[in-house]
Amino acid sequence: MNGLAMLMAKRIGLGLITLFAVSVIIFAALELMPGDLAEQVLGQSATPETVAQFRKELGLDKAPHIRYFDWLGGALQGDFGVSLANKRSVADQLAPRFANTLFLAALAAAISVPLALTLGVLAALYRNSIFDRVANVSTLTSISSPEFFLGYVLILFLAVKNPIFPSISNISPNADFMEQLYRTMLPAITLTLVVTAHMMRMTRAAIINLLASPYIEMARLKGVPRWRVIVRHALVNALAPIINVVALNLAYLITGVVLVEVVFVYPGVGQLLVDSVSKRDLPVVQACCLIFAATYVLLNLLADVGSILSNPRLRHPR
């Protein structure tokens, strides 16, 4: 188990280093933008004295690396600074939004991951059959269409023509769980259509890749039924690539939702990011980027750990 622990520690260490590098890049990128916050807030008519005064207030007169570590130190404690637009704490503004985004992502994942795995297993089981082709073509069609288009199509059919779900996913903070589920359903379905194809095709390919293995032939010659050959003998050995694709898609569910949130006016981080960019509310943009980056790193880290754990040679050393 020692080797395994070492391997995990290395992966986690690498993840932390990546996150650190990302935070530097985000900070530096915003630093490179022309002008600074003080000039932007006060506008062109401000006198140099007021600008200097305001800079001091914001702490912008300090050296960049000091400001970076101030910001990082604050971020580590959950303090992302103060929004320029409305002077509210960024963290307070972000927290409910992030919770909403997580809820949407979780719902989409809860639908898409089991769906994709099941479709993938079935497609591998009945490969080259009508079912396989239909599943492939329909998931490919949905992944090839832009998500805002998918969103509007869904609104047309499921909200306008057959009013099953609301077309606008405005969630009030005190809505109960069922209400929230109901209002989030359309964006979740849109996201599902976007991410399913990738995961399904990887599941199918990873399983089919193994079907020529001697141990699969052995299982067949032992009289193991077909579905059991696929699930018990092939799928367990195909997990590593599948886990990686699932993790990438989960990350996309959180970071790639901007368009979907806009289409459905869903109060998530994506919407906040778009609003903040248009208002040049840099502290908020910084915080959103950091959260997105952390999500990516974390999910990839989990995928790595998952693939390592799915390898019996690493789980059970000699």
Binding site: L221, G223, N237, R318
Partner: protein, 550 residues
């Protein structure tokens, strides 16, 4: 292995099997008949492409992807398997007809414990509960003389050695007490010392449960130990069939006789090089490690011009690692490699082109050693261009000459791809590619192991002729002592990274031996059908496994 009192279990009549190539189906088994009685063991032998495995699988009503049973009858205990529905076939497989694959290491699912794979069959077929089946598994492990039978089943396949896995697989196919077992080259991937143990286990268990078996192999000596009757196959046709002893003593067909004669190739041993001659390659006290794990310990030997040094040992003995040190792929941690009396840089990256040119390699798997996307002409041209700088007509002429040397007609082979060649031809291309650099020294790494005996003999004769003509020095890595006997001048026996014994061939093959050399030599199966029985008596049943598993 009595058979007279039992009825017919398997009756195959006019079996025809087709294989797909592209869009077309071509017949690969042309109407074979086979009758097997209960409790009887029949050996199926032949070269690759003879259809042995295909027929063996057909006996389970199974055809691999790209194959189909196109005609004939396969009657198992009165049922015609060619017309049995898939669900009924599935119920039969594993429970009444079972299959032992060539490589147990590849045929056990890496993600499940041995015992879980063992109990899967009996549970699925409704023969016994998990508890009963587990108890039975442990009992079978004990009977097959696996170490720690109570706990070995709870390990994963990668935690168990190759020979043990093969026995665990034999135990697994016994789990439902089948009437018929298909053994498909079950010991081909094993070392000789391990092979004995597995052969003995298989023979015992087949005897104890009075199971009928089809024993598929290309090794005549092995089949002589295992089978009551032998059927010889060639390219999907039966050549002849007879009782084992009769077949061994008086084969009737020419093809069978030629198979029997293969083991007789032996070229005369050359006299040792003069004492003052500078060896082409001299390995001096090298030790090496993979990462932290030491694998070679103080290995020394010399190879002289025009001589063949056979490096012998089981898998993991360090033979190939020694070759990697000589080629500079694995710089040794201490010691040095001399070439023509000069020290070679340890790492191949520090060697100049001339030093690299002088030592070439031929690989075991010609399949994977040749770039499948390049034509034969390109494959051989590359080293000629690289090392000798030939271009245009001179290059083409040289490549043609090389193809002539390996006895392949240049006009026919120059434009072909490796996939269009047979295994033996591919290995010849491997030889031509090594010769293209005009080296003094060639490392042959198990070059005949993947080939049929007749083809392998052709390769050995070719290598021998080339050595005569070009005064080449060979380092011949092999685990096959028959090969050593036929081609070596000197022998180096390795075990666990150390040289156990070394000397001229005639001395090495004559007693007294080092105990390990003795074990290796006595483990090589002989054509005598009583050989295994006698050997086991001689060694005593208790300690045969120990040598194999330490």
């Amino acid at each position: 292995m009595q058979n007279s009192k039992h009825g017919v279990l398997l009756n195959i009549r006019d079996l025809r099997i087709e294989g797909r190539s592209g869009e077309d189906w071509t017949e690969i088994v042309h109407g074979v008949d086979l009758t097997l009685r209960r409790g009887e063991v029949m050996g199926l032998i032949g070269e690759s492409g003879a259809g042995k495995s295909t027929i063996g699988l057909a006996a389970m009503g199974y055809a691999r992807d790209g194959c189909r049973i196109s005609g004939g009858k396969i009657e198992f205990d009165g049922m015609d398997l060619t017309t049995t529905p898939q669900d009924d076939l599935r119920a039969l497989r594993g429970s009444r007809i079972a299959y032992v694959a060539q490589s147990a290491a590849a045929s056990f699912n890496p993600s499940h414990r041995l015992i879980d794979q063992h109990t899967e069959g009996p549970m699925l077929h409704g023969i016994s509960s998990r508890e009963e089946s587990e108890k039975d598994a442990i009992e079978l492990y004990r009977r097959l003389r696996l170490p720690n039978p109570d706990e070995i089943g709870f390990r994963y396949p990668h935690q168990v050695s190759g020979g043990q896995l093969q026995r665990a697989m034999t135990a697994m196919v016994m789990s439902c007490r089948p009437d018929l077992i298909i053994f498909d080259e079950p010991t081909t991937a094993l070392d000789v010392t391990t092979q004995i143990e597995v052969l003995a286990s298989i023979r015992d268990i087949v005897d104890q449960f009075d199971t009928a078996a089809l024993y598929i192999t290309h090794d005549l000596a092995v089949v002589a130990q295992m089978a009551d009757r032998i059927k010889v196959l060639l390219k999907g046709d039966e050549v002849e069939e007879a009782e084992t002893r009769e077949m061994l003593e008086s084969p009737k067909q020419d093809y069978t006789k030629s198979l029997w004669a293969v083991r007789s190739f032996e070229r005369p041993q050359k006299p040792p090089a003069p004492a003052d001659a500078v060896p082409v390659v001299s390995v001096k006290n090298i030790s090496a490690a993979y990462g932290e794990t030491p694998v070679l310990f103080d290995v020394s030997f010399d190879i002289h011009a025009g001589r063949t040094v056979a490096v012998v040992g089981e898998s993991g003995s360090g033979k190939s690692t020694a070759a990697r040190c000589i080629t500079g792929l694995l710089p040794p941690s201490s010691g040095e490699v001399m070439f023509d009396g000069e020290v070679l840089p340890a790492d191949f990256r520090n060697r100049n082109r001339e030093q690299l040119r002088q030592a070439q390699m031929i690989y075991q798997m010609a399949d994977t050693a040749l770039n499948p996307k390049k034509r034969i002409g390109e494959i051989i041209s590359r080293p000629v261009q690289f090392y000798l700088g030939l271009k245009g007509a001179a290059l083409k002429q040289r490549v043609d000459q090389l193809l002539d040397q390996i006895e392949l007609e240049p006009s026919q082979y120059y434009h072909r791809y490796p996939s269009e060649l047979s295994g033996g031809q591919k290995q010849r291309i491997g030889i031509a590619r090594a010769l293209a650099a005009e080296p003094k020294f060639i490392i042959c790494d198990e070059v005949t192991s993947a080939l049929d005996q007749l083809v392998a003999e052709g390769i050995l004769k070719l290598l021998d002729r080339l050595q005569e003509e070009l005064n080449l020095a060979y380092m011949f890595i092999t685990h096959d002592l028959a090969t050593v006997r036929s081609i070596a001048d000197e022998v180096v026996v390795m075990r666990q990274g150390k040289v156990v014994e070394a000397g001229p061939k005639d001395v090495m093959f004559k007693p007294p031996h080092h105990p390990y050399t003795d074990l290796l030599l006595s483990s090589v199966p002989e054509m005598d059908p009583d050989w295994l029985t006698n050997l086991l008596e001689e060694r005593g049943a208790d300690n045969i496994g120990e040598a194999a598993d330490v």
